[in-house]
Amino acid sequence: MPIEAGGKMYETDEEGYLADLNDWNPDLATAMAKADGADLDENHWEVINFLREYYEEYQIAPAVRVLTKAIGKKLGPDKGNSKYLYELFPYGPAKQACKYAGLPKPTGCV
């Protein structure tokens, strides 16, 4: 099912993950969040941008445990814990945040 952002349509898979990672732009993340009934604030963006950088470096979407640890290392223990991340992304930080970041579903995420 394609998703619309900024007047353009983008292809996604059956779970809503962006088909082509190179199509990503911030408007698309906002549109995906809106479809889930969520508004993105700066804390969401911090995680989304972190995920994009992680993917750029390692070419995978991290498992939630790995994401949590890596966020803790970069942004401190207040943010590197599952409570904080699940409050931001109630559908699961790796799953939901990866989707908004335009990444594929995390490896090892069922």
Binding site: E57, Y58, Q59, I60, P62, A63, R65, V66, K69, A70, T107, G108
Partner: protein, 130 residues
């Protein structure tokens, strides 16, 4: 509620070794192995990866797959540390036959001789071959 793999407590941690013997891209083995390791890392076992024969080519620096239209998955080996997979063993003889040295590899590894690696294989509970 405990997960099935936690039921018997930390005393049941097993030693898993993933043995990689194939070059990347020509066959799917290297990528499959890497994906299985990343998934299995969630089960908190004692995981190591061994690279021997053409498997040492998986860790070669400077891979550039633009020309063949396949994804370059070599950067993902550098993510293994974050998944607590820190034991990467590379067979010295395999490197030497291919004119490679430790400097040609894109992640920190432990280079060891065939005999030492054989010992290490012998100590494992489970060996998975790719």
């Amino acid at each position: 509620m405990s997960e099935p793999w936690e039921e018997e407590g930390p005393g049941t941690i097993k030693k898993f070794m993933y043995v990689n013997r194939k070059a990347p891209y020509g066959t799917i083995y290297a990528l499959e192995s890497l994906e299985v390791v990343l998934i299995a890392a969630a089960f908190e076992q004692d995981v190591s990866m061994a690279f021997l024969d053409d498997g040492v080519y998986q860790l070669k620096k400077g891979q550039d797959t633009q020309g063949i239209g396949m994804k370059n998955f070599s950067p993902t080996y550098r993510a293994l540390e974050g998944y607590d997979v820190e034991k990467l063993y590379v067979e010295a003889e395999s490197l030497a036959e291919r004119g490679l040295s430790e400097d040609d590899l894109l992640v920190p590894v432990e280079v060891m001789g065939r005999e030492a690696l054989a010992e290490l294989m012998d100590e494992q509970d489970v060996i998975l071959s790719f």
